[in-house]
């Protein structure tokens, strides 16, 4: 076994065979999704893409504090799920959470300011890129410890169940996360108590630098494990917002009607490295190019044109989003860093950090 593994990559993951995307499934065009929902998903994808491209430029100018993890290339997952849930539903994301935060309608300005570690940031400049949270928007937090939030999403879903609301909770996570205990604990709880929770695995093929199939027992880290928990194996094209939307819609319907949890595996790819310090050199030649060819956004643009949306309307959306990204950038840059005193706040209910009264 170990010899095969060594041979497979000759000590260099970049020498493994590349894993290209599946071709676009044009039948998704015929899914009964209202056109306005599709236009909304287009707008969301534009927002996430343009926002993160700007965030990337700001890292390059060294204006973003700490490290950060982009979803460039994975936008269709965030957009597809966001379009299928209600404003009062709960979402939980990882450190790769800019897209999921914006998709809940959190303002670009506060998010950008948070990335820059500014006072007017979503968390007053204290959390930064990896901890975006906006309870008002149902965005219950970005969790930078792999796996933790799957169990937490169960709790939120359970709360909805106990309170008798029909809210659902969604947890987004990566392929690598399926190998930590919390993933398995969370699935079992969710099934046993029929919790209204939806686990969305964004399979972008990599952990940080290691291809997850190198260290995972099954080819599809989430879908192949679903049957072990009595769940349907749901595998969707994560680069097609319609496919994601449809899977999410069904899962939400099931959860709201008391039918319990779902586990969705969405195949996708990050266009860049894991985090800002990572050039992504461990990826085989041609793999990135093949996935860039399957960029979710130009594909969706073409689909909307085929479905009768005017080019002008899409251009208008792009331009409107570009303007908002510019405004958000200005807003963020104009905001001051938090004062030194901020360090000593928010540990206890009284707002401070002193441990004695």
């Amino acid at each position: 076994m170990s010899t095969d593994r060594a041979e497979a990559g000759r000590h260099d993951f970049a020498l493994r065979p590349s894993r290209p995307p599946a071709p676009v499934d044009h039948a998704n065009e015929d899914l009964p999704i209202p056109l306005e929902t599709r236009v909304e998903m287009y707008r969301l994808q534009q927002e996430l893409r343009q926002f993160e491209k700007r965030a990337y430029d700001l890292f390059m100018q060294n204006l973003v504090k700490g490290t950060s993890h982009l979803s460039l290339g994975q936008e269709a997952v965030a957009a597809g799920v966001a379009a299928a849930i209600r404003p009062d539903d709960y979402t939980f994301a990882t450190y790769r959470g800019h897209a999921h935060t914006l998709a809940r309608g959190v303002g670009m300005g506060p998010v950008m300011a948070e990335l820059l570690g500014r006072e007017d940031g979503l968390l007053g400049g204290k959390g930064g890129s990896m901890h975006l949270t906006s309870v008002e928007h149902g965005m219950m937090g970005s969790y930078a410890i792999v796996g933790a939030h799957l169990c937490i999403a169960n709790g939120a879903a359970w709360s909805a169940q106990i309170r008798g609301t029909d809210q659902v909770a969604v947890a987004f996570f990566g392929d690598g996360t399926t190998n930590i205990g919390a993933f398995h604990e969370a699935l079992n709880f969710a099934v046993v108590w029929k919790l209204p929770v939806i686990f969305v695995c964004e399979n972008n093929l990599y952990m940080e630098y290691t291809p997850s199939d190198f260290v995972t027992a099954v080819p599809h880290p989430a879908a192949d494990r679903a049957p072990a928990y009595g769940l349907e194996a749901v595998l969707v094209d994560g680069n097609d917002a319609d496919a994601v939307y449809e899977a999410a819609r069904k899962a939400v319907e099931l959860a709201r009607s008391g039918g319990g949890p779902s586990l969705i595996e969405a195949m996708t790819y990050r266009h860049g490295g894991h985090s800002r310090a990572d050039p992504g050199k461990y990826r085989p030649d041609g793999e990135v190019d093949a996935w860039l060819e399957r960029d979710p956004i130009p594909m969706y643009h073409q689909r909307l044109l085929r479905l009768g949306v005017a080019e002008g309307q899409l251009t208008e959306i792009q331009q409107e989003v570009a303007q908002r990204v510019d405004d958000a950038t200005e807003y963020a840059k104009a905001s001051a860093p938090p004062g030194d005193a901020a360090l000593m706040t928010d540990v206890w209910a009284d707002g401070g950090s002193a441990w004695r009264n």
């Binding site: 504090k65 700490g66 930078a144 205990g181 995972t216 461990y282 360090l343």
Partner: protein
């Protein structure tokens, strides 16, 4: 002698350790891509995939497996990517790794090393920046080691691999590349359990470890300009703590300033101060001062400098103890 930075010294020590066939490395991204801090760069090529193992994201799985290997005759070295990511393995570390010697009435031991990058330095707040060494120090049965120079990093890591007990090996993130120094070509160990008087002095003892040694050294240099002769002591091993060296120094100088990056409350500095009060009370000319991080969460990069004790705070604390 070669000049190496701390990451290179650790790499050399791991390479040397792997000469012993019982040694196995495990961790996330440590093999083919050399680890997040590149500490294990090149070791997979040299020692092969049975010895340098790329694992899934599964801290409990990694430490559990390392523990099983250790009780079954190997000498595993597990890597946690950051201190904040070591907690999923707490059950294994606290309930099993640390206790098997006692629980098995000495028939078993778990001679494994868990390498943990710790402390501020990359500006990413919380999990990527924290110093929770006191959590480990509090657990009977765990040794806790923390080098501040490439020389000690090499020697302590090899000593940790040889050690019959489990060792939590803390690696100061800030020093991986910035600490440079001579490392002998011939293998050597630095004994676990010995503090080092890095610079002798007569007026006050500054006691620090790991990443804070950088600030402590700078403070000692600055104090020399105001004619304060500080003795600088590098703890090097938090557990077992070298009480003897500390007491010898403090009874001589009569003054002590303890420095660490971790939060103040119940930090290891409290234990050091207690040891001094218990055993050197009558030699003290002034109360012990602690210079520490705050009782709050490590912030993002911009505010990190307000969190991590500065040279100025160490100098000021020394002036305060000199006034009494």
């Amino acid at each position: 002698m070669t000049e190496l930075n701390m990451a290179q010294a650790l790499n050399a020590a791991l390479d040397r350790a792997l000469a012993d066939e019982r040694v196995v490395l495990l961790g996330e991204d440590i093999g083919q891509t050399g680890g997040v801090f590149r500490v294990s760069d090149g070791l997979l090529e040299k020692h092969g995939p049975d010895r340098v193992i790329d694992t899934p994201v599964s801290e409990a799985g990694i430490v559990g497996a390392a523990y099983g290997m250790a009780v079954a005759g190997l000498r595993p070295i597990a890597e946690m990517q950051f201190m904040g990511f070591s907690y999923p393995a707490f059950d294994q570390i606290i309930s099993h790794v640390s206790r098997i010697r006692n629980r098995s009435r000495h028939r078993f031991t778990a001679p494994l090393v868990i390498r943990v990058p710790y402390g501020a330095g990359i500006g990413a707040a919380e999990h990527h920046s924290e110093s929770t060494e006191a959590l480990y120090a509090h657990i009977p049965g765990l040794k806790v080691v923390v080098p501040s120079t490439p020389h000690d990093a090499y020697g302590l890591l090899l000593a940790a691999v040889d050690d019959p007990d489990p060792v939590i090996f803390l690696e100061p993130i800030r020093l991986y590349r910035s600490a440079r120094g001579e490392v002998p070509e011939e293998p050597y160990t630095v004994p676990i359990g010995t503090a080092k008087v890095e610079k002798p002095g007569s007026d006050v003892t500054i006691i620090a470890y790991g990443s804070m040694m950088r600030e402590a050294r700078a403070a000692a240099t600055e104090l020399a300009q105001s004619d304060i002769d500080a003795e600088l002591l590098d703890v090097r091993t938090i557990i077992p703590f070298d009480t003897e060296t500390v007491l010898e120094s403090v009874t001589r100088t009569g003054r002590a300033v303890v420095v660490h990056e971790a939060p103040r409350t119940a930090g290891f500095g409290a234990e050091i101060a207690a040891q001094i009060y218990e055993h050197a009370f009558y030699s003290l000319l002034a109360p012990v001062e602690r210079v520490t991080g705050w009782d709050t969460v490590v912030p993002l990069r911009r505010a990190e400098q307000h969190y991590v004790p500065s040279v100025g705070r160490v100098v000021a604390a020394v002036h305060r103890v000199m006034e009494t």
